[in-house]
């Protein structure tokens, strides 16, 4: 294996063996923001499946039942439209915030960042700080090393397993899932997905870390397309910092001909993707602002002004004004606003009732002996509401149209989440038909809630009128 590696390394000098990045622990205002974000996001993730709403799990994307419960609303596969719009909204929101403030998502909200942060905390807790971790990894194998490594992976795996359990809890009722685990009666598919998701968490946050951002994340590749001169980025102030160099705290910079950067390399040590921000904006930079925090601390100790590395825009760094309102943000913002309000309105006016009228395809129409024309349809009613309703069906469009069906017309009780299906027969005197194909309109109204109304148009066929 190592021979193979060497061969590759020789043939392709651009690659070096992957080295673990030991990122330095950072304290400061942005670290505080990130930790706050991590705590809030993780509480939301682990807490949400336990929320209850009117006797059921508040948010349950029930895949086995093909129904998504989100508080009072229930979505069906028929509602896929909302899901599609939601995805478009999410993508546009990402574009909007990227244009405005760069890779905010990467630095503070991306699950990869959030879980890696937690895994780093656990690693530090068991193996100690950056120096201790490096020393431990370089040291020969001994009992202490074994115990530390074992406990780290043990804690990571337990945490990952709970993460996997929570993930599956979004898709099958979590209380039932917990009971099944305690009773060792978990189904094979649930077990599989818990293990799969746990493994993904452990691998991504424990092992892959920054490599996910560098090699796996599509967003990281195209985010720079949204950038302009007013986008907030993390940048090193070259004019102020260079020429960099070490110095005593009280030495005269002018005399030594040095800039403000003392070349302590703490910004590089703090970087979770292992880059040097002083080389300029790079696609590896996930904008976590760890370098800002650590540099400001150093500037403070040196009694220099903070902000040698800072959140800034290209315009600001050239001494120009930064603009909040500009073509990109206005257009993204406007589309986002339109889509969001559209989604809001359509959700608000959504009627949780569906009716399908399907013509009987075998016979177009039947002529009855007493001069009546008969058409047969299949009626399907789907009650998507959370309670049962009794419906009333009426039909209009042709004079003296008569409707017949097995169930009593005004006593159609459909339980919540059920579909009823039945044939209906329409009859009308052939004298009343002006055309060969006539529009008829079916109207279904919930008796206890007239707002639940759907209408569907169908065709009533007959012979060619001879007049």
């Amino acid at each position: 294996m190592s021979q193979q590696r060497n061969k590759i390394d020789q043939s392709d000098p651009f690659y070096e063996k992957h080295q673990k990045i030991y990122s330095r622990e950072v304290h400061g205002i942005f670290a505080l923001w990130r930790v706050t974000g991590v705590i809030i996001l993780l509480s939301v993730y682990y807490g949400t499946p336990w929320l209850r709403w009117q006797g059921h799990q508040a948010i349950l994307l029930d895949l086995p039942e093909r129904k998504f419960h989100i508080f009072a609303l229930t979505f069906w596969p028929q509602d896929f439209f909302y899901f599609a719009i939601l995805l478009i909204v999410a993508a546009l929101a990402l574009f909007f915030f990227t244009t405005l403030a760069g890779r905010l998502w990467c630095g503070y909200a991306c699950p990869q960042t959030v879980w890696t942060e937690v895994f780093l905390v656990m690693e530090r807790w068991i193996e100690g700080n950056r120096m201790k971790q490096m020393k431990l990894d370089q040291s020969a194998f001994n009992i202490e090393k074994f115990l530390k490594k074992f406990s780290k992976h043990f804690v990571w795996i337990i945490f990952s397993a709970y993460t996997g359990f929570t993930f599956v809890g979004y898709f099958t009722p979590i209380t039932g899932l917990a009971e099944k685990i305690i009773e060792f009666s978990l189904g094979p598919w649930e077990t599989f997905w818990i293990v799969f998701y746990s493994f993904a968490t452990y691998g991504n946050a424990g092992w892959l870390r920054e490599q996910v951002c560098l090699h796996m994340c599509p967003y990281a590749r195209f985010q720079s397309a949204m950038f302009d001169k007013d986008t907030l980025v993390i940048a090193y102030d070259e004019n102020r910092g260079e020429p960099r160099g070490s110095r005593n705290k009280n030495s005269d910079l002018q005399e030594k001909g040095l800039g403000d950067c003392i070349n302590c390399t703490l910004c590089v040590q703090a970087c979770p993707t292992g880059i040097d921000i002083r080389d300029g904006l790079q696609y590896q930079c996930i904008a976590c602002a760890a370098c800002i925090d650590v540099c400001n601390e150093v500037m403070g100790k040196m009694n220099y002004k903070p902000g040698l590395i800072s959140y800034t825009t290209e315009n600001a760094s050239h001494g120009k004004m930064s603009h909040f309102f500009r073509a990109k943000t206005i257009i993204y913002g406007a589309i986002l606003l339109i889509l969001l309000s559209g989604l809001g309105i359509s959700l608000f006016t959504r009627v949780p009732l569906e009716m399908d009228i399907i013509r009987d395809r075998n016979t177009l129409y039947r002529e009855l002996p007493d001069g009546l024309i008969e058409n047969v349809y299949i009626l399907k009613i789907l009650n998507m509401d959370s309670v049962a309703h009794e419906y009333k069906l009426t039909v209009s469009g042709i004079k003296n149209l008569k409707m017949e069906m097995k169930m009593k017309l005004d006593h159609m009780l459909v339980p919540s989440g059920e579909i009823i299906e039945m044939p209906i027969v329409l009859r009308v005197s052939s004298l009343g038909l002006a055309k060969r194909s006539n529009a008829v309109e079916f109207k279904l109204v919930a008796k206890d809630k007239p707002a639940l109304t759907v209408t569907k148009e169908a065709r009533f066929l007959g012979p060619i009128p001879n007049h």
């Binding site: 992957h18 596969p77 598919w189 490599q211 950038f227 040097d276 300029g280 590896q284």
Partner: protein
Amino acid sequence: MSRAPEQNAVSPGLSAGTSPITLKVISIFWPSFLTAGLATILCFSVFDPEMMLLDTHFANASRLGAYTSGFFSFWVLTASSCALTCYFQKPCAVKNAKSENI
């Protein structure tokens, strides 16, 4: 500070590279994972596996089972397409050089 140079020179020894084998594994299994997920969502929001399997040998399979097998079948397909892409990316010169050695 100007627009990002896409591939900035990294300070030697400070930044970690990733081995070509890892990169190849990632480029075969990761994009295919994403597209397989998308295909699964689209496929099973249109078709109910219970209906699809009603007349088959797998009529008693649970929906969760059908989703899972569906996802992995999609993944096998998309991964094989990624693998072929990777395979055909190898320059002709490399193939020629190899046969010369034999």
